[in-house]
């Protein structure tokens, strides 16, 4: 017997909310990036679960392609985000987002 679709969706929702909590509550820019990665993973679980339980019967592959594009964007985001972290660390000797307030009104 197969696992119901809603189980996957619940796990993905939990993963997304944990990542959201990390993004909202951390002060460290690297930890915030890790929270974003968790949220992107949750989205991918959703995409592939919907692909497996709906789209595979139609024989198309949009869910898998969408997941691959999301992973690509996540990789680009991590590279640029961590480069920004290094640049900020070099300039300010901190990666604490509360101390990087140059553009704050």
């Amino acid at each position: 017997m197969q696992v119901p679709l809603s189980w996957y969706l619940i796990v993905a929702a939990a993963l997304f909310c944990i990542g959201l909590y990390g993004v909202l509550s951390r002060r460290n820019a690297i930890a915030i990036l890790m929270g974003v990665e968790l949220m992107l993973n949750a989205v991918n679980v959703n995409l592939l679960a919907f692909w497996r339980y709906g789209e595979v019967a139609r024989g198309t592959l949009a869910g898998q392609v969408f997941a691959i594009i999301v992973i690509t964007v996540a990789a680009a985001e991590a590279a640029v985000g961590l480069a920004l972290v290094i640049a900020v660390y070099r300039a300010r000797r901190t990666v604490d987002v509360e101390e990087v307030e140059l553009m704050k009104l």
Binding site: M1, Q2, V3, S6, I10, V11, A13, L15, F16, C17, I18, G19, L20, Y21, L24, S25, R26, N28, I30, A31, M34, G35, E37, L38, N41, N44, V45, L48, W51, R52, Y53, G54, V56, A57, G59, L61, A62, Q64, V65, A67, I68, I69, I71, T72, V73, A74, A75, A76, E77, A78, A79, V80, L82, A83, I86, A87, Y89, R90, V95, V97
Partner: protein, 167 residues
């Protein structure tokens, strides 16, 4: 409802992913959080295998565990003094963030469980990976997102080097 082997595997894999995710957001030590992130990625890769998308599981292991997690650990090591124990890891939004996350999860769980999802039972075709490869370069399917993704990666590569370069 009878429990089968796939249910047990699903629970174990999701527990791995969720424990890893909780470790990421709750551990004070950033290095340990990054290792928990690897655990969470591996659990999600297991879920992909259970969903019979083995190619995505391999991509997950290669890109997330092999590249992104290592990159994060690398940056943590470069900016070392953040690992000091007296560093405050959380901001003052912490209780509010927890409330937002729990409420959002409650709403999502309510919606997900109250909807009967239309599912179609079908076996994954044997040549799914070959078909994915062809679909990614077929002009009538996904060649445009595929090429845009390659341009995006190039831009990200150049941008990361320019931003992180020593002046």
């Amino acid at each position: 409802m009878t429990l089968s082997v796939s249910h047990v595997i699903f629970v174990v894999l999701s527990a791995t992913a969720l424990v890893g995710a909780l470790g990421v957001v709750l551990s004070r030590n950033l290095f340990r959080a990054a290792l928990f992130l690897v655990l969470s990625f591996v659990g999600v890769a297991g879920l992909y295998i259970l969903l019979e998308v083995e190619i995505l599981a391999m991509i997950q292991l290669l890109i997330y565990v092999g590249a992104i997690a290592i990159l994060i650990i690398f940056v943590i090591m470069v900016s070392r003094q953040l690992m000091s124990p007296q560093y405050r890891a959380w901001n003052q939004q912490r209780p509010g963030g927890a409330v937002v996350a729990v409420v959002l999860f409650a709403v999502l769980a309510f919606v997900l469980l109250s909807v009967t999802w239309p599912t179609a039972e079908a076996a994954v075709p044997q040549d799914a990976i070959a078909r994915l490869g062809r679909a990614l370069v077929a002009p009538d399917q996904f060649v445009l997102p595929f090429e845009v993704a390659s341009v995006l990666l190039l831009v990200a590569l150049v941008g990361a080097v320019v931003i992180a370069r020593e002046k």
